[in-house]
């Protein structure tokens, strides 16, 4: 197989990025609804890429993703909400100092959201990364649920079940895709570095990695914290996209972790590009499946809508993927021009032969 030269790779990448730029610049022509979906895709992308760093590349099965997203979302929303808005919303119990008297910009609030989530990742990781396999999954699941319950009950900090309302809808297409770009660069660069090799080695055989001199615990911790940071970022973007936050299990609870898990499994565990493809797939399919929740008219026959139907259908798709296509779309490998070239080349070759 011919190897694409460095020049060709760079050129194709530039063309691709310029193409995305023009697509995003003209996203508004698809209408308000679809440009919101395009923004959501990038937010999902960040959630998925950060999640696949832990669950795919490092091979530790965390179920705590929604917890970090929620922390990032609440932290940044509390920082960007106007003081008036806070006074208005927090009527059961006033917001504690100093949050009640500050308002900062979207960018610093997002970064702080990421840092706080990363800090929590460290706190959670420190005891639970000593557990293995299922126990780690259960510990992280419990953590995410505890975070949700704390949010639900700390009225003075989170406004409890009343939630946060009137969050500025700062998250534009550019913010979301810009952060996705940063996430992909950082996680991709990490994956393709000596540290990334160490993480992949850990995912295959932690004992052998240890004997090769790799400090498994701290490497897993590093991946977990980096992942937590970007999960927090995605949470901030999500908060300023959806503009209201509440601690129901279906919004920032285990359901969200499950969604992101679907994305990365469909895309291929451990693949950054696969995670994004999974996010795109999920965004579209979940929108499309929503039509089954309202009444559907099929050849004059009215099928009554069932609430929760889209989730059920998604789960069915998920199960099919797990049974017949466990590697997902990309497996562990990445989408590269070389792979695309090879793919089409063999296709054409088959037809000719």
């Amino acid at each position: 197989m011919k190897k694409l030269s460095f020049k060709v790779n760079v050129m194709l990448t530039i063309v691709f990025l310029v193409g995305i730029y023009f697509f995003l610049a003209n996203a508004s022509i698809f209408g308000d609804y679809w440009s919101r979906i395009i923004t959501l895709i990038a937010i999902y992308g960040i959630m998925a890429v950060s999640y696949t760093l832990v669950n795919g590349v490092t091979g530790i099965f965390s179920l705590g993703q929604a917890g970090f997203i929620a922390i990032g979302a609440y932290t940044s929303a509390l920082l960007t909400l106007s003081i008036q808005q806070k006074q208005m919303s927090f009527f059961i119990q006033p917001l504690i100092w100093p949050l009640n008297s500050i308002q900062i910009g979207f960018l610093p609030a997002t970064i702080i959201g990421g840092l706080v989530a990363a800090f929590f990742a460290f706190l959670i990781g420190y005891p639970s990364l000593r557990l293995t396999g299922d126990y780690f999954a259960i510990a992280t699941l419990a953590f995410a649920e505890i975070i949700r319950i704390l949010i639900q009950n700390f009225y003075g900090l989170t406004n409890g079940t009343l939630g946060l309302k009137g969050i500025n809808s700062y998250t534009t297409v550019w913010w979301a895709w810009g952060w996705l770009f940063v996430t992909v660069i950082v996680v991709g660069s990490l994956k393709f570095s000596s540290y990334g090799r160490a993480l992949r080695a850990i995912s295959e055989d932690p004992m052998a990695a240890k004997v090769m001199g790799i400090d498994v615990f701290w490497h897993q911790m590093m991946a977990f914290v980096v992942s937590g940071f970007f999960a927090g970022i995605s949470g901030s973007l999500y908060a300023h996209w959806i503009t209201t936050l509440d601690p129901r299990p279906t919004s920032l609870g285990v359901m969200l972790t499950f969604y992101v898990l679907i994305m990365i499994v469909i895309g291929g565990l451990g693949s950054v590009s696969g995670a994004i493809i999974g996010a795109i797939f999920f965004a579209f399919v979940s929108q499309w499946l929503r039509m089954f929740e309202s009444n559907v008219n099929l050849f004059g026959l009215t099928i009554p809508g069932v609430p929760g139907m889209s989730m059920l259908l998604l789960s069915v798709i998920f199960i099919f993927v797990m049974i017949f296509w466990r590697r997902g779309l990309m497996g562990k490998s990445e989408l590269s021009w070389q792979n695309i070239y090879a793919f089409f080349k063999t296709r054409v070759g088959d037809e000719n032969g």
Binding site: S193, S194, R200, E204, M207, M212, I214, D215
Partner: protein, 282 residues
Amino acid sequence: MKMAENILDMDKITIKFGGLTAVDDFSMYINKGELVGLIGPNGAGKTTIFNIITGIYKPTAGKIVFKGIDITGLKPQLINQIGIARTFQNIRLFSDMTVLENIMVGQHSYFTNRKALNFLHTHDPKKYPKSLWRPWLFSAILKTPDYVKIEKVMKAKAFDLLGKMELQKYADFKASALPYGQQRKLEIARALATNPTLLILDEPAAGMNPQESQVLLESIRKIMKDFSLTILLIEHDMKFVMNICERIYVLDYGKLISHGNPEAVQNDKKVIEAYLGDEVYV
């Protein structure tokens, strides 16, 4: 005099798994530059001794001294960074990664061995200078020039190592795609990539035909010279052991039953009995 030469000194090592005493009051020393064999019938406790040396198991009693440092109970990664590398009886390569990547994983702790350097520093400040912290993780993510340079050096060294083990033509193969004998060689190469002074090999010739094990024998002798290594190996193939080892320890039911040069061990009545009770090897 003897103490100064010793690179490894195991003193009265005992390990119990529940009621089973897998290794019982076992003592052994290895001199610098020596090639020592560890033999014994199945289940004698040989692999368990390797697991104790590399820090996978903590001994119930006893002490292990490596290069004059008490390493009993240290973490496996630290023991490796201080200079002990191993292979496994049932090959444990990173099978989804390429041959080259396997080697480079072995080189990785070059970045993070600060802990080991500091450990050595507290042990002997004169011999081991204090290490400086570098934000290698950030360098690696940002692909700073010094990181890129190190990555290049790693790659060059890895190819060098592959060349020495005659594996360079497989560099881009997945490790799992290699033929069995080459996988064993790759595991040795990966261990060498961690820059050990003591290499311990768990049945390196297992599953090889006589020609293959002859080739392996030659290459073990060669790397031993090239890397000025000390080697401890477990092997069932008696011909192999008698050919290559300068000194042999014989283990049976976790106890040391004989020790000496190949002829002495071969003619030891206890050894013959132990093996006759099992299978006839000699």
